[in-house]
Symmetry: D2
Subunit: 333 residues, 4 copies
């Protein structure tokens, strides 16, 4: 951490910063610059509140130099983390695809969609049993019945399943049925849920928050890993910006940025970024090009009848085309 | 809802929209315009997925006309909702002030700070026992011990207390000790928590999410009210933008916008918007001017020793000055 | 335009909206809905100030239905506009690549870089002679000397050149030397410059503003076309968001959105979005996948000595790799 | 500037950074930290391209410590700059108010509005003769005729006038008529225009760009001052965010931030932030509370007939109420 003092900072105020840092057990080293003094705070191990010194007299700015994360950091662990789910490996350079409807609506819908995505080349099936919806009047998912359908899908198709947990209460029930626990965008900083997922022996798919910085997202993963669960898959799904022509703005730069900072695999969900069907395939291909470790794509056997996210769900034949193109592109980069 | 068709939309495709709407129980009425047809979907009662029609052939755009909320809407209930907590009333034109530290750190810290803020004119005391922190290595709060300190503060000072719930598990415990349940920014769309709070008989202070639209925020309140708890206080605390000179950007326009759309009281937290102490008083006054129904301000008896948010916490004497100015301004508008 | 009235709007106030619209020459048609009246304003030809009715009594919301642009609209002209520059065609499904340094620094730098990019497969050369820099103390470009170097580059390599105009004054001079006039991000809404470019017989490359909506960007193109110059190439280069891990956030969804709304070609500049070299190739490939009509990439023969944008400029050998991959991918989609 | 190296950076790569910095004339000083080396670059005088070192091997991050501005900086000049226009002083703690219509539409409109705002207490009159409009089909202003009307307004009322320049060409003409040159939001980074305004002997009112950071805004002022014109008034008018309930989001924190960084006066335009009339007065009061050095407010004698920005223009009687409240509040803080 670098505490930048004002040009005319007094000796007393510089000393106050040094003393406060040392009182908290850090090494503080004043660094005279061209026209001002900065105080370097060394050996901080990630838990310093960088805002602390902002309130001190004559302090102009406080700059975090060392990142606060540990377990997620590639500086701590150089090799990619590989997360295995059935025959799929996230992080080894392959490109597993998770596909399925937004929500599980019925046995027929789930099984038919699952068969179609499997045939097209998907490696995992997705579908929500508990749905976080903006409106309490929207369809909230089938609950445990949905989980049972997911289990049936796995039995019938052999595909591992991914489904969302919404709170600590239902986590245990969901764990019984699913292969991967998904934590949704709106819960990315639900720390109780992150800790609970950290105690699970199931891999966790952690979606990025709507306006989460890279650091906040990695810190959310740190919460899970700190509890002992090292199998975290990150998932970019678009961020909130001023833009109105897509549901969210897909931040493809973050894929490279994650890989520089962290050893965790990072996949991309083009469906939620797009919000409309006709952008999904282009964005899926784009995600493949930037080195995503996997894709998550919404597919519905009858999108126009879907109870949620119909507009962004691919038809099975479109998904087939999508996967085929994705595989071609992936083999070339 | 208005489904805007492309200029050259075919009769068949227009009819497909009409049919799908009617199949779902709505009234669909084609409205010929200057150069294109739009289809008005009437009598929708808030639960239509506006994105549904986006995927239909020849549809150019879908525009929501009726807002999806019911219970929170001022069109449904014209008079302001008044939320009473002890002697404080939120929503009646008065300006109750909630003050206290970010986190409860010790009995001394809590009691001393509480006495100071009471003397200065605060009507409620705040302090976190369970803290949602970006880093798992940051201070997470004292837990139940913190709640007991809060109870002691109330006993000693007579001030009602406000504290945060982080999950359904600890909600019951928190309810025993607190007067107002706070739901934090990061949990604004934690729907399980919202539903749980909706079953409580304690008022709920609902902070706006980091990048929540007005509609998403009101829908989160709708979740609470739908479960039966009508005592919801909204709290604006700054939104995430590209700006770096403050922790968040305080959106004061939202106060007026909330009041137009809803009958719920809305207060402002200038501390989290500012992130640094010297912006807190100006922003508190500004919030008073736009008609906030209350303020929430961080105060610490020794900010430089605070375990969190020290930089944005006022010194007791500053808070006294703040309240005094706020009251003067409030009496004039 | 749809003027949505409040639920309890009075007859008088509804009539006031109708009258005001008709006074201005529009057709106003009240549309009774489930619980409120909306007034449709028909035959508006793009020049209605949608905000006008917002100020009227009992008006809840005003919704623009018809887009305000004419000449840029695909509803007006269905076929893609093809912009030809030398042997390059933008908009016909091919993928011309514009490459070169941020700024022209010297004859050697320009010629060496131009030869390298030509050999690698670029179809046009770029380089700034007049540079809009955030700081007045940064290198501002070589001015006319830079333009002369560009002319020499064209003579030597046969590549058409693209360079930026910064104001109406220097436009004439730039026109003499360049093949394409570039209007930069910061000048996207410099309407005097847009109009001047609209009088030129050179194609215009119009970069998207830092926080421009799709509509604002298309309206800027409309300014150019309205003056008679129909050869406009749009260029997405990243938007400003809260994100800090890249210089800007590349909005790839906008490529598809432009193509739906407009017949103009749209290219992508991954270099300015990335801000750092190692993201450029992945983003260039991603742009290819979403259907960009061309790419603009910064290349410098010695990036570490560049006077601007060195960090995001590719080395010639990297550019060669980039083009080779881009062409492979492009041939497959 | 601090160049943060990767944990395992090689000696060679650290030396490459040091050498490159020294080659460019800086002092480079490696600073060993807890687990990594950073290189401090000293005596940089604002013109270093911080992105330069980003491209070097083993560099993790580059952090600007010294701000790049000089003339605008409060570290260079401690006392407030006072800008005098007629009897008004911006920057001395008083609160001059600039009021008038968006655009000059006719002699009657201008004179009637000017008389009304003068009577209410405004100190300057505003009105556009050249209007930057998003659409080429919107009213573009009366041009020189508008300027003549402005001159007449000054003659009749004694109020100094403020009007916008759109390009270098019309700057000379505008200078003849106006007392203050306004540079609009969309031209904040039109560097040719900034330089031209820097050569004028009229004060410049510089509006903040739609998504300009504090630093970019101050650098724009630096461009003007660098050319010799030290009379710059900054004007906050709302920034672009994801928010839809107001036209822009008024960033009141920036007022304090400007005052910390710079000696220039900063005023606030609540009208463009609001976009709708009923938010203007509250935001004007809020701006007064955060210490704005002036206000700019749109007023029209007949808002419902305004050719632009009618929805956000106050009626004369509302403006009177506004000024009266503003003055009361201002006298108390």
């Amino acid at each position: 951490m670098l505490v930048v003092m004002k040009i005319d900072a007094t000796e007393t105020n510089i000393k106050a910063v040094v003393d406060a840092a040392e009182k908290r057990g850090y090494v503080a080293r004043p660094i005279p610059g061209g026209d001002r003094v900065s105080v370097g705070i060394l050996h901080n191990n990630g838990s310093v509140d960088t805002s602390m010194f902002l309130g001190f007299a004559d302090v102009k700015e406080v700059i975090a130099v060392t990142k606060p994360y540990k377990l997620v950091s590639r500086e701590v662990k150089k090799e990619n983390t590989l997360v295995r789910v059935g025959d799929n490996i996230f992080g080894d350079g392959s490109l597993p695809v998770i596909a399925g409807p937004c929500a599980i609506e019925s046995m027929e819908q789930a099984i038919e969609t699952a068969k179609a995505v499997k045939e097209a080349g998907a490696g995992l099936f997705r579908g929500g049993a508990f749905k976080p919806r903006t409106s309490p009047y929207s369809f909230q998912g089938l609950g445990e019945e949905g989980l049972k359908i997911l289990a049936k899908v796995r039995e019938e198709t052999g595909l591992p399943v991914v489904t969302e947990i919404m709170d600590c209460e239902n986590c245990e029930m969901v764990e019984e049925y699913t292969d991967v626990l998904q934590i949704g965008t709106r819960n990315m900083q639900n720390y109780s849920l992150l800790k609970r997922a950290g105690k699970s022996n199931k891999p966790v798919l952690l979606k990025r928050g709507m306006s989460a910085t890279l650091q906040e997202w990695l810190m959310a993963a740190e919460y899970i890993m700190e509890e002992g669960n090292l199998n975290v898959i990150l998932c970019e799904r678009g961020i909130r910006t001023f833009v109105k022509h897509s549901r969210n703005t897909l931040d493809l730069s973050v894929v490279r940025a994650v890989k520089k900072e962290s050893h965790l695999p990072v996949i991309v969900d083009p469906s939620h970024a797009a919000g409309v069907r006709d952008q999904v395939i282009p964005l899926a291909l784009a995600a493949t090009c930037v080195g995503a470790d996997g894709l998550m794509i919404e597919v519905h056997y009858k999108p126009e009848e879907a109870r949620s996210d119909g507009a962004q769900s691919l038809y099975p034949e479109q998904f087939k085309e999508c996967i085929s193109k994705v595989k071609t592109i992936h083999s070339l980069i």
